[in-house]
């Protein structure tokens, strides 16, 4: 069940559009901010609120890399793998993260602390290689700085 708070946020979000379904990404974002991800039950509830079918909304949700339809860790690490980061050593950063966390891309650590994901260009090419953790931008990231960076996310 969506909470009162979530319902309020969703109603606030759809106000800026003449058609309610335009607020569906914002609605899923509101739910994800609270719960970490968007489950089937929430998809069904949001769809009903916005006049969509659950399948329609799921079609939108699964189109986007930043809407999570499966549980993720408390912190989500997005490693940019696009061209400027690749040139500047993305692979060494990714290897260091995989080793440190002991999970492959797409994996979540056993303690539920981190999920490791690849991401397309995040517009931080002047700070390559770049990594985004929960919306915080880090870069340029040196592989040996990774333990200290991760230490800030409990």
């Amino acid at each position: 069940m969506l909470t009162e708070d979530e319902l309020k946020t969703i109603e606030e979000a759809v106000k800026i559009y003449p058609h309610r379904r335009a607020g569906c990404v914002e609605a899923m974002r509101a739910v994800q901010e609270k719960r970490g991800w968007v489950g089937d039950a929430e998809i069904g509830e949001i769809a009903a609120l916005l006049g969509m079918t659950a399948d329609e909304l799921d079609g939108v949700a699964t189109f986007y890399p930043f809407i999570f339809r499966r549980p993720v860790g408390r912190h989500v690490i997005c490693v940019c793998d696009s061209v400027a980061c690749w040139v500047m050593g993305h692979e060494t950063v990714l290897d260091a993260l995989k080793n440190r966390l002991g999970v492959p891309l797409g994996g979540t650590t056993a303690d539920g602390r981190f999920t490791l994901l690849p991401i397309s260009c995040i517009g931080a090419c002047d700070r390559a290689p770049a990594v985004m953790i929960d919306g915080d931008l880090h870069g340029p990231v040196a592989p040996d700085a990774i333990p200290a960076i991760l230490g800030r996310y409990k």
């Binding site: 939108v60 189109f63 890399p65 040139v87 260009c121 919306g135």
Partner: protein
């Protein structure tokens, strides 16, 4: 020498990295163009001024902005509501120019949007912002609040009879959202696949209403054109395309970053003078001058001025977004193309077959070649795909853009491809 060192777009940006507040923006002359426009000019006159300034779209295609606006009906009998959208979904690999402008001076974008909205008599405006630009998002939200409080937005814009509302729409990733018709679907809460054109958004856009979609940097130019006039604006440029350009450089250069320079600055000036040249021990093998979807340019063409027309005519490439990525001599050209094609394959929306199936095929073949499993006939398959995926064979410009770096790499780095195939390994990995 024609051109000047004026930096209208970035000159007022604070050096401490904070956003310009409303008071600071107004002190620097902000919103005076809007007041002047509302008092003295008709929407048609605003369009004419922007046409005369030769402002061309900064999102990559270079379409003349004033002309784009003129496709939307205005005046009595024009349909309402109409919409103006800032395409702030910057996701061209290598590009971060819009982020710099939105983070540093959000009011400049807002003022540009209000003037553009007035020029097409729009009723509402949206800033379509990518998820990854959270910092831009919070700064724009604060600036919008200030602009409403100062009555630059709302029922009576700057005391005039013009009414405009403006909102931020935060999207959730995907390169295709920058394609203007896919953007419209995304904003409406649908899967972000492109729409058939015609009809064009100028007459049938958001919710089927007349809509203009302009890139964020394009819109940031608008207040300066109206404040100082088209002749001044043209004088900023070293070329026929008006104004300055926010160029960026990334890769193994001494100072990766952004610089607002006269439109028509050469690749060499940008690379050597502004980015400080290559880091110790590396030399530039080529550049991708305009973001991931543009052709490689070799050093013998580095004196080419970076403008829309000259880059095509002289360098066989494109200005694109003006966001350069440097390929150095220790980086594998096959690897960089593989990386680019893997990006485009992932970001294909899947709507049309050539793009959905062709790009992953290209990416896999390039992976095979880079990892030493390539065959000579693979080069023919790749070359064939540069034809199969070209413009008008696909629904939108994503795949045609994707094959630009591939087609040029097959020509310019042929020897590297053959080395990989013959030696069955990547010669750049030790």
């Amino acid at each position: 020498m024609k051109g000047s060192v004026e930096k209208p777009l970035t000159g007022d940006i604070r050096s401490d990295g904070k956003a310009l507040s409303l008071a600071e923006y107004e002190k620097a002359g902000g919103y005076s163009a809007l007041r002047k426009v509302l008092k003295e000019m008709t929407p048609k006159e605003v369009q004419d001024a922007v046409k005369a300034a030769n402002l061309r779209g900064r999102g990559g295609a270079g379409f003349p902005t004033g002309m784009k606006w003129s496709f939307t009906p205005i005046g009595e009998g024009a349909p309402h509501p109409k919409f103006l959208i800032s395409n702030s979904d910057e996701m061209e690999p290598g590009a971060f120019k819009d982020r710099v402008l939105m983070e540093g001076n959000p009011h400049q974008l807002i003022e540009g949007m209000i003037i553009a909205a007035y020029a097409i008599e729009a009723d509402a405006a949206y800033i379509f912002l990518r998820w990854a630009y959270g910092e831009s998002g919070s700064r724009i939200a604060s600036a919008l609040k200030e602009a409403y409080q100062a009555a630059y937005l709302g029922p009576s814009v700057a005391g005039s009879a013009y009414r405009l509302d403006m909102h931020v729409h935060v999207s959730a990733g995907r390169y295709i959202c920058g394609e203007e018709t896919a953007l419209l679907n995304a904003l409406e809460g649908r899967r972000a696949v492109p729409r058939a054109k015609p009809p064009f958004p100028g007459t049938n856009g958001l919710w089927g209403r007349p809509t203009v979609v302009n890139n964020a940097e394009t819109l940031a130019n608008v207040p300066h054109i109206l404040k100082n006039g088209p002749e001044w604006y043209k004088g900023l440029s070293l070329s026929a395309d008006g104004g300055t350009k926010v160029y960026t450089v990334s890769g193994r250069v001494r100072r990766p970053g952004f610089w607002e320079l006269p439109m028509g600055t050469t690749i060499r000036d940008l690379l050597e003078e502004h980015a400080g040249g290559m880091v110790e021990g590396r030399t530039a093998r080529a550049v991708i001058p305009g973001g991931g979807s543009t052709e490689f340019v070799l050093p013998e063409l580095f004196d080419t001025p970076m403008t829309f027309d000259v880059m095509e005519k002289q360098a066989g490439s494109r200005l694109g977004t003006g966001t350069m990525i440097v390929l150095d001599d220790a980086t594998c050209p096959v690897g960089i193309v593989r990386n680019l094609e893997a990006f485009f394959a992932r970001e294909s929306c899947g709507w049309c077959t050539p793009c959905r199936d062709g790009l992953p095929w290209i990416a896999r073949i390039l992976g095979d070649i880079e990892e030493g499993r390539g065959r000579r006939e693979d080069l023919e398959v790749l070359a064939e795909h540069t034809w199969l995926l070209k413009m008008h064979h696909t629904y939108c410009a994503l795949a045609p853009g994707a094959i630009e770096p591939l087609a040029s790499a097959l020509k310019l780095f042929e020897a590297d491809f053959i080395h990989h195939i013959e030696e069955k390994r990547c010669p750049y990995r030790h």
